[in-house]
Point group: C2
Chain length 336, copies 2
DNA sequence: TCATCTATTGCATACGAATGCAATAGATGT
DNA sequence: ACATCTATTGCATTCGTATGCAATAGATGA
């Protein structure tokens, strides 16, 4: 392994000077600096980040804590897009990414431990649950972290970045109204989910603004499964009056609703959350596109800011778009 | 931060003794050992892995290098399942996981750099391309790594672990024959792909063993897109004789083939690679299940073995299963 | 020419854990 | 009681980098 001592020896300088060149200190003469950098390239010097971290007390790494329910998650376009966003932004800012998985052994299972054992400087925590013990632990240990919308206790180094689902529902509702629909059904994930609640809230606001009444039987909360969504949509389609459009708020349940419409052989528009597969299967369908990759980007950026400044960056909201035949409409015009 | 010195001070021992207790040395008295461990718990001691790594020259971390084509990848059930397997096995063996992404900045974009900068001890490299420069770099730098099937140059610390696609194709063909099919079409990914070639090879072997002739127009290689697969299947369905079954070798193209069958309103069996969505949409369809999570597990395990022993572990092959109405058949019986 | 000042560079040490070697304690034998 | 041996423990150093402080060079002024 090539160290700063090797560079120093070959250039006839002191290790400390080499170190200063590498950390961009202004205390070094430009000729010396050139010489050192040339030698570093020649010997293919790569800094030892463990040693650097030991000295500076920082790791320049972010831990990403993934939710466990692989079953739910696997069907989602969320993970790869999100991780890609996190990775790209992190590395653009000089940070690397470490994974944390519940169910794994220590310290990987516990993001607080990951930070305390100096494998990361902060944590990205996706989809917190109510009274999330992981969040509590992060606050207690004064660890910089960013999470989704969270109702519980907050901390001085905690930041929230999330997709605005109220806005998403509002946008969806407004879009359908603008397309002439007046009898609109809604299929959201179960009542316990904040995501689902928010979407419904926004949707209903759009309806009331448009003067459209939505009777309770036209709003169905279901578990996030294909079958549950299909059942719900099927029941809705047999109602009188039958909806001309159905809004759906997850990337999986869309397929259930579409199947119901298909089986019923009816012309009912399904507006759901985009996934690459949905685009492939129904390229002409309008859809709600959630910015998962950007969510990763923003979370990484905001977390690094928090780590660097030592105080929580500002909360951030991201907005969905409605995509219609490859044209983006309703992009941000109705953003609060 | 609580260090071994703090533990030493509070127990009246020397730091070296504390360190020995923590690393499980036999050179320590059991009473002393108890005392130290109790104090560690009391002070919530967490070892500083940067310091440990600096001294031991190891990081106990694996780098996972993900392929870039997010477009292809996003539709796949591969990423989340695979990462989950890697994470779980790695942490079970005391390792953590670092992400490497092409397109990211240094060192995250280059797994060799990740190892040289001491962020990981070895690399998991999924889906190598022909003459992969990343593989070449890993070999040149004598870095322990595991990758998929690879035809090019090999190295002393390189291990291959992959899903046996010849076997998968063979299994698929044999299954369809056992179900009475004799006119069978095949849709594989494009000719350049080793995965597709292998699948076809195995499939054809099964056909010839069964004495079934497959004319060239019943074998189609297509790009991995919904639309290309649909076209290919549609053409096949208009042939005379029309196939009674079509085998498809990716998790995305299945949907294209299914759509073609559906539009043609024909009763043709589509046997494709399983994904959670496929299971949701067509729960009763038999399907090829690829062990992505296990692939992650095995790759992590084999890599850690290679790191620990300093020489390449044995190459490993994993086998797909055919799932039929929640019963697994053809599991390993035809494994070479 | 000499004093003074600034721009560079070198020296020494610290970060926290691991480990070879020396030192000490207690146990054992005679 | 003494020597010898083994089981523990302590001491000192190392890993590679960063950084406060001291030292030196060259530049500037009078």
């Amino acid at each position: 392994m090539v160290t700063t001592y090797d560079i120093a020896k070959r250039t006839g300088l002191n290790q400390s000077t080499v170190s200063r060149v590498l950390s961009g200190s202004t205390l070094v003469g430009s000729r010396t600096s050139q010489r050192v950098l040339a030698m570093c390239r020649q010997l293919r010097y790569v800094p030892n980040l463990q040693a650097r971290g030991l000295k500076t007390q920082r790791t320049c790494a972010l831990a990403v804590h993934m939710p466990q329910g692989s079953q739910t998650i696997l069907a989602d376009p969320f993970v790869p897009a999100f991780l890609s966003g996190v990775s790209l932004q992190a590395s653009a800012l000089g940070y690397s990414v470490v994974l944390s998985y519940p169910g794994a052994g220590a310290p990987a299972a516990n993001p607080s431990l990951l930070v305390k054992s100096r494998l990361a400087d902060g944590v990205i925590h996706t989809s917190p649950t109510r009274d999330d013990p992981v969040v509590a632990s992060l606050i207690r240990n004064k660890i910089p972290f960013v999470t989704g919308r969270y109702d519980g206790k907050t901390g001085p180094l905690m930041v929230c970045v999330d997709i605005d689902n109220v806005h998403s529902g509002y946008q969806a509702g407004k879009f359908l109204v603008s397309r002439g629909h007046r009898t609109i059904g809604l299929v959201t994930e179960s009542k316990e989910s904040i995501v689902g609640q928010d979407f419904e809230k926004g949707f209903l606001r759009a309806m009331s603004e448009a003067g459209v009444r939505v009777p309770p039987e036209r709003i169905k909360s279901v578990p996030v499964t294909f079958e549950a969504a299909r059942q719900a949509a099927r029941e809705m389609l047999s109602q009188n009056p039958c909806p001309t459009a159905i809004a759906v708020n997850t990337a999986l349940t869309v397929f259930g609703a579409l199947e119901a419409v298909r089986q019923a052989k009816m012309k009912v528009l399904v507006l759901g959350v985009a996934s690459p597969l949905l685009t492939s299967l129904y390229p002409h369908l309008p859809r709600i596109q959630a910015p998962f990759e950007d969510l990763g980007r923003q979370m990484a950026g905001v977390l690094i800011e928090t780590i660097r400044t030592g105080k929580a960056a500002a909360t951030k909201m991201l907005y969905t778009k409605i995509i219609d035949r490859d044209e983006t409409i309703f992009q941000e015009e109705s953003k609060p």
